[in-house]
Each structure stands twice: as structure tokens, then as C-alpha cells.
Symmetry: C2
Subunit: 432 residues, 2 copies
């Protein structure tokens, strides 16, 4: 092991972060190499900076004209220049401010400074790199984003264990989560991922359910190390009353010294910049102090450096600029209202015939948030329904044989009745 | 192993690609999930596309106003929309055309279609993911980019073996490469990385040296599987006559069925868009056919999907637009001439006193290309020279105790004499 990695491990000694590191996580560090020396030069080399592999002319990066003209308001360093490995420092600070504004319980809580990753997937991947060894168990509800299989299962050799998402009353199945945790806690603790609003169901827990989930996690933490990964991709789009509007990260951040919570969030869905690829990783656990976070930052920075070097600069600059507009919150509220309007239309449609009939092959599952809703396909012909719809010019997603996901956020409100009428007619064809 | 991965392995059976896969490479595949279904919908769902997690209004992605206004000429789908996992299809095609234009020997050669990765580092990382198991040997010259240690060594557990970069006459040490290969070929073959123009030295081989390197590789391929990774980050900036102006990828692409060549290149340095994070991976080996490349594409797409999902869209759109400008080549030539001018100034400075004195502590090493030149620091005080320069407002990079790298491409030509005068005066201080 490199001495620098060993030092970081010692600084993390006694914490849940240290105990849950993977073998790669133990060995990771951020070397004092080109990037660190260039950072020193950026601060001190006021005459000539001949450190970094960028071409400059008269103090500005050289740029192709057509690119300069395409982003007229952005200075060259903020469009084509390199970003620091952990991301634009002002954006990280700004994202943290927003995180606290959106999650008031975090006010005063000790968390790491959000670090930028190129998209939320990459944030999940670094989390798995640093915390998941082959054979470690990851507990998921049985309805989850398919890419977890490839990322955790194939790439990291993690064993995915599921419990039924909904209980009999159609609420979040807290008992199922508790049982899965108690059955699968091992010498390396246990890892749990919660994705609210959930993809594919579009479900987020009520305040009572969120409190119950926290109780389960804290109860387990008395007996085992536990990591909660919060995939908050769709955070903020809550359409019903009584939904918990703060992230589980916010509830769990200071809950227990054996409970490590990792928040994966980003601008992708929250700020409607899907292709910008801007995600963030933030961690918290009761008892973590500034030097623990500094040591963690070094490990995560090394992980980023050795995988992608750094994130794209132009996207970070544009996002920061957008977040600093005076009407930023107002504009986001306007879009959220528009999506809520679509939700209400869909809610109304699926509460009526034919979707309300108990023998209809597409049964809407509970949904209250995010971009999606999903049908349970009771006759097991989800893929057939998908391909039949495709031949009529309509795209939906089939998850296996028993689930059809509809991204209603992608369809204009006036078209939603027609869309769901066609889905119903195709579903009826599969009853024959 | 997932049946889909097994099928890909069978399609690659008998090829050097199959034989050199890592354990992760064997298990990787691209699942028929959301992304594949969404791609079908993009082609066929002309009424309503409710597949992907993007919010649309009237057929266009919803956007924050300040972002729309910052990139006025780019349609929303090309700025905030998702890119396909393997990258913008037109950009991939365009990059391949340019690759052939820059490397005429590739005309008609069978290669994969370049696949987009968020930066060249990420391209190297996927190459290591898919081809390097812990304990595999990677052969490097003794002067190389420090991040290879973190990426190949720490992240992938690869054993890095080096040979002296230069031979006694100051040319590329082909004999050293040959010996390293013959000593380190094992049951899993041998992996070689060449980075021309080299970071940190700024050296690229002559045509004769490149031909000799190819002979070494082909000679070895008679006895072992061999992978050549070409890190072509600084490709194209060749300042002297008699430099081989094509990539080693171009020379090796069809050279031997046991020689797998992987080209890692990108717009980062070649097109002066460092912060855009756009790299490409392209592979070739004699005898590979269309279905082999298709199977490989599936593995690489899965690797990208499980690590970063996809690359940033706006950067790809802006790069494609720039590459399609009528004056694209002319503008790049103008910038290259500017950098060549800086090279000639530096060349002239370091050929004169004090740098020409054999007892001067900074001895310029051969350089002829790229962004950099490097000094061998004969008194072992490279770090001291770096920090002394920093206190005078000048940033350079120290590699260990014996090498100082100067990124002269980052300094205006009229300032180069002053820069090198200060470096000389600081070096003189360390003689005392």
C-alpha cells in the first residue's frame, strides 16, 4: 500500500468510513503529482504558469473560433479550461447551500463538501469503487433502475438482494427492508440503496414512512455498520401532500456513528440538464469531523482522478450561472408546477376505467413524485405491450415481463389522455 | 456469467481481443434495458416517446432560460439532451474520417468506430477495465504521465515495468522496449503503452524509430499476445522534420493477428477544448471483422454505461460543429504554427549557454513535439528548483528529484526568453 493511502486510512481510523472501505478504497489516495503542483502554481505563479498541458495566448486559453462564438458570454477558462479534479469550487459551495435550503434538517450538520462527478452514474460508481468489494451485499427494493445490475453487480461483483417495494397497503415496505438488513448483515456490514422518488415507480415515502425507514436504519446500526446510498436523482419533484420532502440523507446524516450515508445527486434531472453530466457525492455520519472529511476528500479525489481526471467545465460554469440567477427558484417552481399538472392528469386517468378495473392487465402502482409512473402487468406480457405500442409510434419501457414504465414527464399535458387511451387499447388486445 | 456476456465472448472467440480480456472484460455486456429500448423508441416512436427520464414540452427538452440564452445557436436536444452511451453518432463518424485523414495508412484498414469517453483518462480506464487484471504487466518507458500509476497501478493492480526512454544517442530506446517485452510476456500476453508526443519529454519518434518499434511489436507477436495502447493525447503537434507523423496505431493496426492496438485520443489537446472532456477509444488487429467489432462495441458500451452512463452532449455538439467549419483545418494549422514558433524559440534558447554547458544542472532532453519539454536535473534538486521558481511567480512541474517539465505551449513567445532566464538563474542557485 502506498504510504499516502496508509496515512489517510489512519486519519479515518475508528470511523464507519474506514471500516466500510473496499480494498480499492483502502489503497486509494490523491498523489502529490501534476495536478497538486499545478494547483499550487495557479495560486502562486503570477508571472508564468508552465505547469499544465493547456495552450495559452495572452493569458487566455487558445480556442477555436466557432467554439468561442457558440458560448459568447462565458470566459475561455470557464468553457475550455480544465476544472479542478473535485469540481468547480464555487459550484460545490453553491450546491451545498442549495442542499441545505432544500433539506433544512441539514442546517449545521457535518457533511463533506459535495464533490463533482460527471453524472450521477459516475457518483454511484465511485461509491461502489471505494466501498464495495466483490461479494458485498447491496439491498434494494425489487423495483429499481436496471443499471444498478451492471454497475454494482457486473462491474463490482456485488450481490444484489431485493425485498418487495410495496407492502400490502401500497405503502413503502419498511418491514421488508428491516428483514433484508437483519438477514444480510455480515462482517463488512451491510449496504442499502434507496432511490426516492423511485425509478421506475415514481414513488416517494410519506413523512411517516421516512421516519420508519430511519428507525430501521438506526436500529440496525446498533448491531452493524451500515451504509445508506441515497440515489436522489429525481429529488424535489413531490406532487402529493404528506410526502417527505427532505432526502433520507438529511434524516440519516447525524443519526448514528455506525450509519454512513452517501448522497448521490445532481443537476441532471433537478435542473433539467440531462446531457451536462453533473452529479455530486456528499457523505455524512454522526461523529465525523473536519479531518475525516479531508481524508475522505483525498480518497474520492484520487478515485475521480484515476477514472475520469475531472468533469466538464462548460456545464459546471453554465449550471453555476443558472443557479445564481435571481429568478432561479421561481423558474424551477414554474417547471415543477407544469410537471405536477401532468401528474394530476395521469392520476385522474388511471383512477378511472379501464385502469381501475381489478382484472385489467395494467394495474397502476402507487406514484406521487418524479418523472414516471409504472403499471404492474398482471398477465406477464409487458414486453409484448411495449412492442405493440412501438408499432403504433409510442415508446414505453418494459422491465421484465411484469412492469411497464411510462415517463409522463416527457409528454405534453394535452396529449396524455390520448397516450393512455392507446396504452389501454393495446393492453386490452393482450387480454384476448 | 450473464448469457449475453457469454455470447459476446463466443463471437470474439479466436481473436486477440478475446484472449486479452480481463475477468471484468469477460463478464461485460450491454444489457437490453432502458437505453436499448429508448433507442428503439427514438427511431420508431413518432407519436409519443415516454421512455426516457427527460422532461419535454412541445417536442423540445425543458430548459432553464439562462442556459438556453448562454448557447443561443444550439438546439436544446444538442445541449441538454442525453447523448447515446457510445457518443454522438455523427461525431464518431466525423472523428474517424479525421483519423484517416491524419493517418493515411489507415485508409481501408479495419478498425472499430471510435467510441466517445468523457476524456482520454476515462478511455484509458475502460481499456484497463476490459483488458487488465491485477498482476498483469504494463510496460512503459521510464518517463511517463504520473496518472498511469494511479489508474493502472492503484486502481487496477497492474504491475508497471519500465525501460529507459532514451538510448545513448538520445533517440527512442527500441532495444529497451524489446528487452522489456521479452522479459515480461506471460500467459496473459503483455501490455505496452506508448505516448507520443510523450508527456513529459515532448518527444516523438522519427520515422525510422517508429518503424523499428513496429518491428519489435510484430516480432514479439509471433510468440505472444501483445496489446499496444497508444495514448495519442498530444497527437498532431510535430515540429521537426523526419518525425513519424502517423500514430503507432496506424502502423500497427493491421500488422499481426496477435497484436491488439488500442488508440486513445481525443479533442482535449488536439482541438484545444481541455475542459470539454471528449476522448475516443478505437481498436484494431489484423483479422478482426465486422462482427468482432460489433461484439467489442457491446462490451465497451456496457463498460461506459456502468461507469459514466454517457458523455456530455453540449461539448460533443460544439466539437462537431467546429469540425464541420470550412476553415477548421486552416485554423488548427494556424494554432499549430504558433506553437511551433514557441518550440523554435525554446529550442534555440536551450541549445545555448547556460543550458548547453555539460555541467549545468538542468540538461534539456530531446524534444520535438507536443506541449512540453523537460530537463534532466543532474543534481537531484528538481523539487527544490520547482519551489524556488514558485516563490518567483513561476510554475513548472517536478517529476521526482531528477526531472523538471516546462509546458512552454502555455507561455507567450515574447515571454519565453525571460522564463528560461529565470529558470537558469534558479538552477544556478542550486549549484552553490
Amino acid at each position: 500500500m502506498h504510504p499516502a493511502a496508509d496515512q489517510l486510512n489512519q486519519r479515518l481510523s475508528g470511523t464507519v468510513v474506514r471500516r466500510m472501505l473496499s480494498r480499492l478504497g483502502e489503497q486509494m489516495f490523491f498523489p502529490r503529482g501534476i495536478v497538486a503542483q499545478a494547483a499550487e502554481a495557479a495560486a502562486q505563479a503570477d508571472r508564468f504558469d508552465a505547469t499544465v498541458g493547456m495552450a495559452y495566448s495572452q493569458g487566455e486559453p487558445i480556442m477555436l473560433n466557432s467554439i468561442r462564438e457558440a458560448v459568447p458570454g462565458i470566459p475561455p477558462k470557464q468553457s475550455v479550461g480544465y476544472s479542478p479534479t473535485p469540481g468547480n469550487a464555487r459550484l460545490r459551495q453553491r450546491w451545498k447551500e442549495e442542499m441545505i435550503r432544500k433539506n433544512p434538517r441539514l442546517e449545521g450538520a457535518a457533511t463533506s463538501l459535495p464533490m463533482v462527478t460527471p453524472g450521477l452514474t459516475n457518483g454511484l460508481c465511485h461509491t461502489a469503487d471505494l466501498f464495495c468489494d466483490p461479494g458485498d451485499v447491496l439491498i434494494l427494493p425489487d423495483m429499481y433502475w436496471g443499471n444498478y445490475n451492471l454497475l454494482f453487480g457486473v462491474r463490482h461483483g456485488v450481490q444484489i438482494v431485493t425485498y418487495p417495494f410495496f407492502d400490502r397497503s401500497g405503502g413503502f415496505n419498511t418491514d421488508g427492508l428491516r428483514e433484508a438488513i437483519s438477514q444480510h448483515s455480515g462482517p463488512r456490514g451491510v449496504r442499502v440503496l434507496l432511490n426516492f422518488p423511485n425509478n421506475p415507480t415514481g414513488y416517494a415515502p410519506s413523512t411517516a414512512e421516512a421516519a420508519a425507514i430511519l428507525q430501521v436504519l438506526v436500529g440496525a446500526a446498533d448491531h452493524t455498520d451500515i451504509m445508506l446510498i441515497c440515489d436522489d436523482a429525481y429529488f424535489g419533484l413531490f406532487y402529493d401532500d404528506d410526502i417527505e420532502t427532505e432526502s433520507m440523507f438529511s434524516l440519516a446524516a447525524a443519526a448514528h456513528p455506525n450509519l454512513l450515508t452517501v448522497k448521490i445527486d445532481g443537476a441532471t434531472k433537478e435542473d433539467y440538464v440531462w446531457g451536462f453530466r453533473i452529479g455530486f457525492i456528499t457523505i455524512a455520519a454522526a461523529g465525523l469531523e473536519a479531518d475525516h472529511f479531508a481524508a475522505w476528500d483525498d480518497k474520492l479525489t484520487g478515485s475521480i482522478r484515476s477514472n475520469v481526471s475531472n468533469g466538464n467545465t462548460l456545464g459546471q460554469s453554465l449550471l453555476l450561472q443558472a443557479m445564481n440567477q435571481p429568478d432561479y427558484h421561481q423558474e424551477k417552481q414554474r417547471i415543477a408546477s407544469e410537471l405536477r399538472h401532468r401528474y394530476q392528469i395521469v392520476r385522474d386517468i388511471v383512477s378511472r376505467e379501464p385502469y381501475s378495473q381489478p382484472d385489467f392487465p395494467l394495474q397502476p402502482m402507487p406514484f406521487n413524485s418524479g418523472y414516471f409512473m409504472a403499471f404492474r402487468c398482471t398477465n406477464g406480457r409487458a414486453e409484448e405491450i411495449r412492442t405493440r405500442l412501438l408499432s403504433k409510434g409510442i415508446g414505453v419501457i418494459a422491465f421484465g415481463d411484469h412492469l411497464v414504465r411510462v415517463a409522463y414527464a416527457g409528454v405534453d399535458p394535452e396529449s396524455l389522455p390520448e397516450l393512455y387511451a392507446i396504452i389501454a387499447s393495446v393492453a386490452r388486445e393482450t387480454m384476448e
